[in-house]
């Protein structure tokens, strides 16, 4: 089915793109890979008189190493590009692996990380891990640039802190302390993940400080706060015991609803299973219990 008619703008510079977005306000949308936008427009879920094709803006391209040892990711990087990028593989191996496992090859080639985060569809893989890695996002608007934590940027289902006239320029992941390990796993029986859980373990005390984030069953990634606090600094075996003791309680607090992806109860159960799995992987253990 054809989408409704729109005017296509092809700005060559960031300032021109932002100006075009500002001129047409909520009747315009940035357009990059189109993997979410065009399908929503075809279904008449979204309607825009103007699409601003941002694929010619060099500031939004490429992966760069940060001086602090982290990674700066251009919003236009495709999942396929990120899965294969040597720097992402070296510094953020769990994110590289996640990128290789998104949807299918066609989505990975066309879909961009900026589009993924700006669309804020809950049933998708990158946000949980990027939140657990404490990523931040840089936005450019008519009044200059601002940077905010991804966890503040993502406000809920299909809702972000991006204003109509702002563009995401880059995703910044600061250096992780030496010995940090991360993992992400998801589960779903449809095209998209029903639930995903990410773990980041930073050496701390006799064990690790943990950042655990669950996504998919709720509007935005949510911290498994009691669990990660209980695991903090404990040696590996005790940390895993603490996880099993508390994760059910955290999962019960997540705002989940019955939907096509499964019942709320089922999805909360998946959180407990996946949390144990990613914690084991982050500790260098076999993925599943023997």
């Amino acid at each position: 089915m054809l989408p409704p008619r729109f005017e296509l703008h092809r700005p060559q510079a960031l300032g021109e793109a932002v100006e075009t977005l500002a001129r047409h306000a909520d009747d315009a949308s940035p357009f990059a890979g189109g993997t979410e936008l065009l399908i929503a427009m075809k279904a008449r879920v979204l309607r825009f008189g103007h699409l601003v094709d941002i694929k010619r803006l060099p500031e939004l391209r490429g992966v760069r190493g940060r001086e602090d040892g982290g990674v700066s990711i251009g919003a236009l990087c495709s999942h396929h590009e990120l899965a294969r990028d040597p720097l992402v593989r070296e510094r953020l191996p769990a994110y590289s692996a996640l990128s290789e496992n998104i949807a299918n090859i066609r989505v990975r080639v066309a879909g961009t990380i900026g589009g993924n985060l700006c669309f804020a569809e809950p049933h998708t893989d990158p946000p949980a891990l990027l939140c657990a890695l404490d990523a931040s996002v840089e936005l450019a608007g008519p009044n200059g640039r601002r940077t905010l934590p991804l966890e503040e940027f993502l406000q809920g289902e299909l809702s972000t802190a991006r204003a109509d006239d702002e563009l995401m320029v880059r995703v910044e992941v600061a250096s992780q302390p030496s010995g940090t390990r991360a993992a992400y796993r998801s589960c779903g029986h449809l095209e998209r993940p029903a639930v995903g859980v990410a773990a980041v373990a930073v050496p701390h005390g006799a064990g690790h400080a943990w950042r655990l984030r669950a996504s998919g069953l709720c509007g935005r990634p949510t911290a498994l706060a009691r669990t990660q606090a209980a695991m903090s600094g404990l040696p590996a075996d005790e940390a895993l015991q603490a996880l099993l003791a508390h994760v059910g309680e955290d999962a019960a607090q997540v705002e989940a609803h019955d939907d096509l992806q499964g019942s709320a109860e089922y999805k909360r159960h998946l959180v407990t299973v996946l949390a144990a799995r990613v914690a084991r992987i982050a500790l260098g253990r076999p993925e599943r219990n023997a």
């Binding site: 089915m1 054809l2 989408p3 409704p4 008619r5 729109f6 005017e7 296509l8 189109g34 993997t35 065009l38 399908i39 075809k42 279904a43 699409l51 094709d53 694929k55 396929h80 949807a103 299918n104 090859i105 066609r106 989505v107 080639v109 066309a110 095209e191």
Partner: protein, 162 residues
């Protein structure tokens, strides 16, 4: 007075030939291929980018032509099944599908063959897991996939370069 929705001039390269076109921005690649260029080998099925029947290659990589603007392929090389081979001149991937019974109704086959060509061009000797992973987005409702995977693995083993 300017048009409210200006048309766009593009030059696609389809199966090696330059194709200059004037398009509405909203026109989808699958429609342009099928209806304007008379290349009906590219199938439309789910129309939401999930099934892979409309797969074409753009600069060698699989793309969802039902959910891609044709004008976004401006200046790029598009390969459809018509550019791969046909009766009497089968591509090695098509020949392997034939020999292994890797198609029944055939509706997914053009997209499946193109996805396989892209896989083998990047990874001439994939493992079974890599084949399954790469073809995950191409749905087949007849074969149960086993014959398709056997065809790809056998082709890779024989070393015929598609």
């Amino acid at each position: 007075m300017t048009e409210p929705f200006p048309m766009i001039d593009v030059e696609l390269r389809v199966n090696g030939r330059p194709v200059p076109l004037t398009l509405e921005p909203r026109e989808l690649l699958v429609d342009v291929l099928r209806d304007r260029l008379d290349l009906p080998g590219t199938k439309r099925s789910c129309d939401i980018g999930v099934c892979g029947a409309c797969t074409v290659l753009i600069d060698g990589m699989p793309a969802t032509s039902c959910s891609m603007l044709a004008c976004d392929a401006d200046g790029r090389e598009i390969t459809t099944i018509e550019g791969v081979g046909g009766a009497g001149n089968l591509d090695p991937v098509q020949q392997a599908f034939l020999e292994h019974g890797a198609l029944q109704c055939g509706f997914c086959t053009p997209g499946m063959v193109l996805a396989v060509k892209s896989l083998l061009a990047q990874n001439p000797h994939p493992t079974e897991e890599e084949v399954r992973h790469y073809l995950r987005g191409n749905l087949c409702r007849c074969t149960g996939y086993v014959k398709i995977i056997e065809a790809v693995l056998d082709l890779a083993k024989r070393g015929d370069r598609p």
